[in-house]
Symmetry: C2
Subunit: 156 residues, 2 copies
Amino acid sequence: MIRTQVQAPPQAWAALLRAHAVTTRALSAQLVADHGLTINDLEALLRLSHAEDQRMRRVDLADALLLTASGVTRLLDGLESAGLVERATCASDRRVVYAVLTEAGRAKLQEASESHLAEVQALFEERFDEDELAQLGELLGRLHGGDAATAEECTP
Amino acid sequence: MIRTQVQAPPQAWAALLRAHAVTTRALSAQLVADHGLTINDLEALLRLSHAEDQRMRRVDLADALLLTASGVTRLLDGLESAGLVERATCASDRRVVYAVLTEAGRAKLQEASESHLAEVQALFEERFDEDELAQLGELLGRLHGGDAATAEECTP
DNA sequence: CCGCTATAGTTGAGAGCGCAAGCAGTTTAC
DNA sequence: GTAAACTGCTTGCGCTCTCAACTATAGCGG
């Protein structure tokens, strides 16, 4: 019998997969249970809150969240029906639909962020010191080519 | 109006999410297109190939792949109907069902590993030198508590 | 002005996976 | 020896997300 020996892929790749699975599972479950938001929901609210006028085009949001256009549509469907986000059209380009953070959305974000941030920090700062944290961020950051996403503005 | 300022979560966490999304997307799509296997399919075959007698209990496989029991059931459903894996029962404990790598499974693994490994390596070794790679692996490895999964044996 | 191509967004089908519930079979406690 | 608790596995349902197909603008070259 031929012993076909196949090596394991680089340890870093396996570690990345595992790290993502483990941390996401832990953090996401908590977030859903406590506030009824997924990680991406929260990320979306967060992005919107930082955006000018608290609104973004759906395409830009998709870019930011690493989702496809359809993914964003569905995600916003949820946030919209929960009243956390509203749609707004753009006068100068009738194709675009903005997602706008509502007052309720801001409140929800505020509330959910607190506990979520605490958990994220617990998870990370318990295991890494400041230098390591920075280094980890830097290394992981290299994995996607230097794509600087500049959000488009719809000048009215 | 109250400007509710919410900080972004630690950069490392965001970077981890993005890194996973980006790399997985790239590698997985290729893998599916070329060989009809998902990352987890491949990982499962790989684990089995390294296991004693090329077989594992489903529970242990779930553990190794960071899936739930039901996830493994479905995953193996696929591999089974593709003929890459077979089931075998355990004489001493009739609850357990083994997943056994078939000859076809070994061949498939061999074939798929080659291109997949090449891609993984391209992705990583293009961006990191050896030290960084090791460090990345070490850091990410810390994210799941020291759970040493020892695969159970079913002594016949 | 009329196609042509590119872009923003939506929708239907389907994959992958977790959760909760359920069923065998095994172990423990009395 | 039997009831209670536990374990391995499967199944129904729901969620998120992608892909492919489609609509509606926008902007260009002739």
